[in-house]
Each structure stands twice: as C-alpha cells, then as structure tokens.
C-alpha cells in the first residue's frame, strides 16, 4: 500500500488523527486521548495489521514545551511502515501504555521513561532502565544538567 492510501486509511480510523508533515514515510499525529484506541485498531484491523512495533522513542521540543512521542510500526504481512506521533505537554508528561498490545512496548516504554521522564499509565513495571533507581533527572531532556558528567555545550 503506498504512502497516501495508507495515511488516508489510518486517518479514517480515528477522527482526531491528522497527517504529520515533515516525515519520510506515512505519518499521522494523534492527541494522547485517542492514542490507545488508534493503536488497537492499527494492530487488529486487517488491511493494516501492524504486528511489529519496531521502535518507540520521544523528541524533546523544549521551546514548544512538549514531548513528541514517536511510534514506528511495521506489518510483516503487508510490508508497510507507519509512523505515529503524539504530543504531550512537557510538564506532567503522562501517556497510556501500549504494553498489552505489543509486549515489546513494555521494554521500550521503560527506556523512554528512564531517559525522558514520560510516565506510562497502566505500565506493569515502570522502573528506570539504564540508570540507577535513585537517579535524579532525565538525561535526554534538552535542559538536563549534570555538573559532574556534562560540560556545558
């Protein structure tokens, strides 16, 4: 399925879904309230059947005060890719967990929590991944300072 047809099909699933500009593949953007239902449909409905959650990461848009969560989906049956983005505010950043849809999301969400501080509601085991449990701060945020380890840019 080519990019435009795919985007149209996906945007038809959920009312608040819009096209995400400036991406090199089919990309849609949803608000956080519609994220989980959209993902469920993307996984389950047939011409889509995105069964492989390739990656989940986040981008810190500090000047706009939001985190942009990025999900990269792939379907092994049909061979198409999709990028789903979702913006959440930087303060009190909480998003729903997708670990019951794709088990690998459990692990990927822990990494994003560890490095960005985005909380996942409903996550079975939300702990830091790479850093120690008592670490203060979230390193991949743009404003992160650590006088011992980081030189000022």
């Amino acid at each position: 399925m080519d990019t435009e047809a795919l985007e149209k099909l996906v945007m038809g699933l959920e009312a608040q879904c819009r096209k995400r500009e400036q991406a090199d593949r089919a990309a849609v953007d949803v608000p956080v309230s519609a994220l989980e239902p959209l993902m469920r449909k993307l996984r389950n409905e047939d011409p889509l059947s995105f069964d492989l959650l390739l990656d989940h990461t986040a981008i810190d848009h500090i000047h706009e005060g939001l985190f942009e969560m990025v999900y990269l989906l792939y379907s092994t049956r049909h061979g198409h890719h999709l990028m789903v983005t979702c913006e959440i505010p930087r303060m009190d950043s909480i998003a729903p967990t997708l670990s019951d849809l794709w088990p690998i999301a459990h692990w990927q969400e822990r990494e994003v929590f560890d490095l960005f501080g985005i909380g996942y509601d409903g996550h079975p085991d939300l702990r830091r991944l790479f850093l120690e449990d008592g670490w203060k701060g979230y390193p991949l945020r743009k404003g992160y300072t650590d006088p011992d380890m980081l030189e000022p840019a």
Binding site: R20, E21, Q22, A23, D24, R25, A27, D51, L52, L53, L54, D55, T57, I59, D60, V70, L72, T76, G79, H81, M83, T85, I94, P96, W102, P103, I104, H106, W107, Q108, E111, F113, L115, G119, Y120, D121, H123, D125, L126, R127, L129, F130, L131, E132, D133, G134, P139, L140, A153
Partner: protein, 387 residues
Amino acid sequence: MSVTVRTLDELLTPPTAADSPLSTQEYFVNMGPQHPIAHGSLRIILLLDGETIRKVIPVPGYVHRGIEKMCEHMSYRKIITLTDRMDYLSALMNNWAVARTVEKAAGIETNSRIETIRTLMAELQRIQSHALWWGVLGMDLGAFTAFLYSFRDREIIGEIFEETIGARLTMNYIQPGGLMFDILPDFAQKVKKLLAYMRPMINEYDTLLSGNAILQERLRNVGILPAKDAVALGCTGPVVRASGVPYDLRKVEPYGVYDKAEFDVVVGTKGDCWDRYYVRMEEMRQSIRIIEQLIDNIPEGQYMVTKYNARLKLPKGRFYGQLETARGVLGVFIYSDGNGDTPYRMHFRSPNFNNLWAVTQIAPGWRIADYIAIQSSLDLVIPDIDR
C-alpha cells in the same frame, strides 16, 4: 491518569513459600555484570525454584554511555565513529545504517561501486560475526575448543579489513556519501582466497559441534519461541527467522546491491535454540554465496561522491532508515530541525535491545543450564543494548 514508579529493590523482596508441591523456597540468583556467560556487562537476576527459572529480570545499563545524547552535539560524520561502538561485531553495518539514512534524507546518491563495496564488507562482517557467535556458543556450552577455532578463522577476515580500512574492530569506514578509503587492488583476490578457505571450515564447524549428540540435546526443543510471539516481542534478525517469519530486510526492502545477488532467506520451523543455531550456520553459507557473486564484478567509479569536509545539512523532518545487521534490524531515527549539521534527536532502534526482552518470555520454566543455551542462541551484544 496516574503513574506508579517502582524500584528494583521492591522486585527483589524474597518471596514466601512457593506453591510447588514440594514446598521449596524460591530464591534470587544474580548472574551479575561479571560472569563468564554475560557476554559483556549485563546483569540478569533469576528467580529460581530449585533449578527451574520462575522469572528473569534483566538489569541493563552497565555499558550505557549516552550515545544518543552525544549525537545531538556531533556532526553526522562524527556520529559514524560512535556507531562502531554499539554493536561492535557489526560495526560496518552500523556505519552503513547511519550513512544510508543521512544519504536518503539529504538526497545524496551514491554510485554502484560504493554500494557493491558496502555490500561486500557487510557480508564479510556478517560471516565474521556469526563465526564469533558460534565459538562463544560452543564455549558457553562447554566445548571450549570451538572458541579458538572460530577466532582463528575470524583473524583472516580481520586481516582483510585491516588492510583496507585500517582497523579490526572500530571501522568508521562507511560514511554518508561513500567510503573512507578505496579498496586495494588485491582485495578481490584476497577475498576469494578467504572464501575458498571458509567454505570447508563451516563444514568443519558442523562436524565439530552441530553433529554432536550432546549439543543437539542441549539445543533441540529448548526455549521455543513461536512466530507470533517473536514478532510481538519485537525480535528481528535470525531470532525471528528461526521462529518461522521470513523477515529479512535484504530481501524485503533491498538496499546496497542485494537485489543483484541471488541468495536464500534461511527460515526455521520451530523457534527452538537449535533453529536459531542452524539459521546462523546457514546464513554464513548464504553470505559466502553473496560475496562470490559480487566479488568479480566490482564496478569502477569514485569511492566518495561528496567532499569529505563538506557539511551535511539535513532538511527539517523525521527520517528513519534501517539495515539488517548480523543480529537483527538496526534502525536509525533522525529528527533534524534544519539548522546546523547535528541532529536535534537521534535514536537507534537497536536489535539487541529488542531481542533481550524475548528472553524474559522464553526462559521461565526452563533450567539454569537451558538459560545459558537460550541466551547464547539469541546472540546478544551488550553495548548495543545499553548504547
């Protein structure tokens, strides 16, 4: 919505009496960062009941170097040096992943000489990586000699790399826009000699280990990962192919000159350790096949199409490129804000990071000795997990 954050110590509180009919007590055992099986610095906490595993808790992070944070301050050419150090056994393929993504985003077109040499180097490195994996699997299961034999054979490939690239481990060779150096005139001849040596060697590996009854008993029907679970758990590479899913980026989304070479995608049936083992043995043979077809016709041309010192500026946007490394799909996600030649955000979809999660789902119910076999057959490289 609310979020509860937990700590590792909460998970490690000793459980009360287990509900097995013998009323034994479960206990935690640490296969800590320093351990002969760890393959690197990975801490695995096992909850055991006797010798049976009830739960696997991986605690990565001992090799976390903040590569993604460093990338935000480095230009794209410099980032290539960091990629060598992630999955160091597929260093050239890591380089190629970033180079490819940057080239696609910046609109740089390479020529067929560059692509052919990149393909050849990647396949040589795939053989080298699988040979090391084979030796380490033998060593983990007790056949120490396998390790030495595979290292002896890796050396030959390493020598070819050293002559062309100048390095044995941290290659920094495949750059956006081409290659760092051109290949030497006797490259093809050396590679052909290597192939003639390596082909019977893989058969010798089979004689030494694959046919051994003890090894087969240790690997057959152990650690079964069904196909649907494999995909849902985000596994890629030989792991998911052994479970029966024919997902090989070299065939599904060809890059380089893979579409010009004829080779088979090796797919297993059951997804047990034996399938994961044999898929990699066969992949070594397929890599030899690919190299053979390409080695004689390396086209002429330049080895670098952009000037080395030119600044690579990417337009604003989100770019994602992926590549099939020896362990799975390495994806490179770049968000560029359009100013400067450093990315605003760079993320590596590392295959080992995603494959590690599978072990927590496969291992419970098996014994400690099976855990060794399962983790060895997943072929994890720890720096790639932690980045």
